[in-house]
Symmetry: C2
Subunit: 360 residues, 2 copies
Amino acid sequence: MKATVTKKVLSEGLSLLERVVPSRSSNPLLTSLKIEASSQGLSLSGTNLEMDLSSFAPAEVQEPQSLVVPAHLLSQIVRTLGGELVELELVGDELAVRSGGSEFKIQTGDVTAFPELNFPDQIDATVDAADLARALGSVRYAASSEAFQAVFRGVKLEKRDQGARVVASDGYRVALHDFALEGEVRELIMPARSVDELVRMLRDGEAKLSYGEGQLSVTTERVKMNLKLLDGEFPDYERVIPSETKLQVKLASATLKESVGRVAVLADKNANNRVEFLVSEGQLQLNAEGDYGRAHDTLSVEQNGTEPAISLAFNAKYVQDALGPIEGEAEMLFAESTKPAIFRPAAGGGYMAVLVALRV
Amino acid sequence: MKATVTKKVLSEGLSLLERVVPSRSSNPLLTSLKIEASSQGLSLSGTNLEMDLSSFAPAEVQEPQSLVVPAHLLSQIVRTLGGELVELELVGDELAVRSGGSEFKIQTGDVTAFPELNFPDQIDATVDAADLARALGSVRYAASSEAFQAVFRGVKLEKRDQGARVVASDGYRVALHDFALEGEVRELIMPARSVDELVRMLRDGEAKLSYGEGQLSVTTERVKMNLKLLDGEFPDYERVIPSETKLQVKLASATLKESVGRVAVLADKNANNRVEFLVSEGQLQLNAEGDYGRAHDTLSVEQNGTEPAISLAFNAKYVQDALGPIEGEAEMLFAESTKPAIFRPAAGGGYMAVLVALRV
């Protein structure tokens, strides 16, 4: 194998692989990536067993051939190269990497022992890549990193009348985002950690979805990905969304986020970072109390609804997370002090968070 | 006590204190800072027992009084405040912090139990604060963070014909920097960790030094600091600086740093990150070899001296550290393959690093 490729193209591809391929493993092959040189260029692929990734780097190839090398090492080397062009050549069982006045010779691995990664050609649905990234990115926080039940560590995709919805929940809160999608939608649950990587890989352009046995494949102009899916029954989250609310409040999302951050400094970390919300007469009062003292903040809000006042408490961290994806005006919708509350952008846009209230 | 101060001034002062005062301690008083309100403003002071710090914040004060509050908590609160002015008031044993629509009430501590911090008025020497910061900042890396002997974890100040010198060594390398200073110079050793904080506190203007019993005090326009000094005999580092060199090399510091970083990717971490330097015929060749392969790089250099060639090896990390403070052209001076080598800016400026060569 002999190939010439620009440093920029090669290091971009490698940096994507580096995000997925683990840097340490009891099986060294799993820390490797496979380079498949064809007449069009180099296909770089690797896996962390939860997610397979393939990236294509256009290159001038003289002798098509496949090989396996340590992923992070190659990425690190290519990043430090001084020249603009990189020459790759398989010499015996070593990959020579040459650029400018530098030459590296890296031991290659057993290409036949590398796991077979198959990326399907079939397309079941298409979606704007940036829309999908925004939707996934704005609900991902609500998935748990610790929950015993696997589904709480995932993000669910489901069908809606107008396209699709992604939703995540850790049992104390729900975040969901509706978005447009062309084609078939299948119910499935993606692991949140794979979702993080998927969000990073998605840019502009179109993402093509393909549903396989226990796996979702996503193809963009730059990359192909297979995500292993989670098994299990996602909780009936719609049950906790209040269908009727009695008091609505509007204010700038950033103002509320800052205020919650401020009073949360004194909130009791051992009592769920409890912050009390009191809405009355066009004012939102926030109170927190902990070992070191008390905090109080007052904000002007646009208040609507049939109830004149409401008082309830939330985990400050959860309120800040819920407000995270909301730019501009935020709307809070309250039913009762003991019922979950809705946080969403006043201007719409498909995102909604539902927070369980802390006990009074 | 009642005081009004701008958020900017107060939070700048608190953020300095926050760097020194520990956030956790078995003695809660040590995580506190003392506020002394006088007619001119607020003096904020705290200690980590190795370093005392005092910062002054001009303020409008109505009832001068002293109090003690958790340092990190107050700093965090003031940082999140929405208003431009902050009102502080001691109400019973609570400090009320008010700004915009926010009010915080923080428990205060026992002011009589807080350690007495004394900052001397006497001035023994003056130095340009930026010069001192540059000198300390460029040698600090050579101090050890682990060495059993305390002096290897410090930076020494000593007298030179033209001013002063700071020097650090971990036994494998030496870094020194000469700078101008007016007044008396005493030999003393500052703990490297206090040096880090001192460098961060120094800005433009003048730094006034005062030598005390086992302590160095540094006063600038913004802050007063006492540094507890280290006891012990600093090694005779001048012994390892080669007095005569036979081969000199000049090249851009950044070029060499990049090249060393490049070949070091394959250097053996278990063999001191060994990188071999071979100078001959106006070329510097770098070689490294490890478990994963071999790296080779060639650089053009300006070569001088009586020897036609030299070959020796260094710890790649140490070479990069030594080059860190060198901007523009770097000069390397070699005596023999087994002797230490000198790294310094070709343009002078007071900095020099000496590296022990690894065995062949």
